[in-house]
Symmetry: C2
Subunit: 135 residues, 2 copies
C-alpha cells in the first residue's frame, strides 16, 4: 500500500492516540466506542479504514487470534500475545527471540521460503489464576 500519500486527519490521529493509550488489544468496534467519546460523529467505517491504513503502514499491529474478529495493538516493540481461555482477554507476553530459532530450524526444509512466523499463546492470565486459587 502507498503510505506516502496518506494524510494525518483529525480522525486518524484520534484513532491512533486511543489505540496507543491502551494495552487491551481492542477490536475495531471497541476502539470505535472509545474514539466516539472524543469524536461523537465518527463512523465505524472510518475507524476500520484508518486501522487498515495504520496497520498497513506500520503504525499499528493487526492481530487475529482465531476469535472471528480482528484486534489491534498500538505497541510496536516486539512482543507476543496470550489469549486467556478463561476470560478472553489478550495480554502481552515479553519477547524472547524464538522467531529466529523457529525460522532457522525450518529453513532446512527447503521446499518453501518462509517469510514470517505467527506465534501466539493460549493460557490462563494472572487474574484468572488468582481466582482459581480462591475457589
Amino acid at each position: 500500500m502507498d503510505c506516502e500519500n496518506t494524510r494525518m486527519t483529525h480522525q486518524r490521529r484520534v484513532v491512533l492516540e486511543e489505540l496507543k493509550k491502551t494495552t487491551a488489544h481492542p477490536t475495531a468496534d471497541e476502539l470505535y466506542e472509545s474514539v466516539r467519546k472524543r469524536l461523537p460523529n465518527i463512523s465505524l467505517g472510518t475507524v476500520y479504514r484508518n486501522l487498515e491504513i495504520l496497520s498497513a503502514c506500520g503504525q499499528a499491529l493487526k492481530l487475529d487470534l482465531g476469535e472471528g474478529k480482528k484486534r489491534f495493538d498500538g505497541t510496536l516493540d516486539p512482543h507476543y500475545h496470550l489469549r486467556c481461555v478463561k476470560c478472553g482477554r489478550v495480554i502481552d507476553v515479553p519477547y524472547v527471540p524464538i522467531d529466529k530459532k523457529i525460522e532457522k530450524q525450518m529453513k532446512d526444509l527447503g521446499e518453501f521460503k518462509i517469510t514470517g512466523v505467527q506465534v501466539h499463546f493460549e493460557g490462563i492470565c494472572a487474574d484468572c489464576l488468582a481466582k482459581e486459587q480462591t475457589h
Copy 2:
C-alpha cells in the same frame, strides 16, 4: 463440549471422510461443495455444525490463519501450516518440536499459565517459487 452423546450420522461420516481425503485445508464452504457431490441435499449449516463438533471432539482441526474464515484439517498428526502469500494455499509443514522449547522458555515468566501455542508460517510455496524462477 459433551462428546459422549454424539451420534455418527451419515452426514457427519461423509463430512469427516471428505475432510480426511484432502490435504488442501478446505474452508467450510469448500468442504460443503465436495460433500454435496455425495449428499446433494446436505445443508451448509449441517456442515458447519459437524465441523464444529468434530473439531471440538478431536477428530479434526480448526485453523484460523487470519484470512477472515476458518479452515479445517483432517490430519491429526502433529504438523504446522504455511500460508503461501502468493497463491493463498495452505500447505503442511513437517513437525519439529519447537512448541516444547517455546513453552519451556516462556514458563519462567510466571505471571500466567501457558496451555498451548499456535505457530503458523507465512511464505512462498514450492509451486510459486518455481514460477518466480521461470519469469
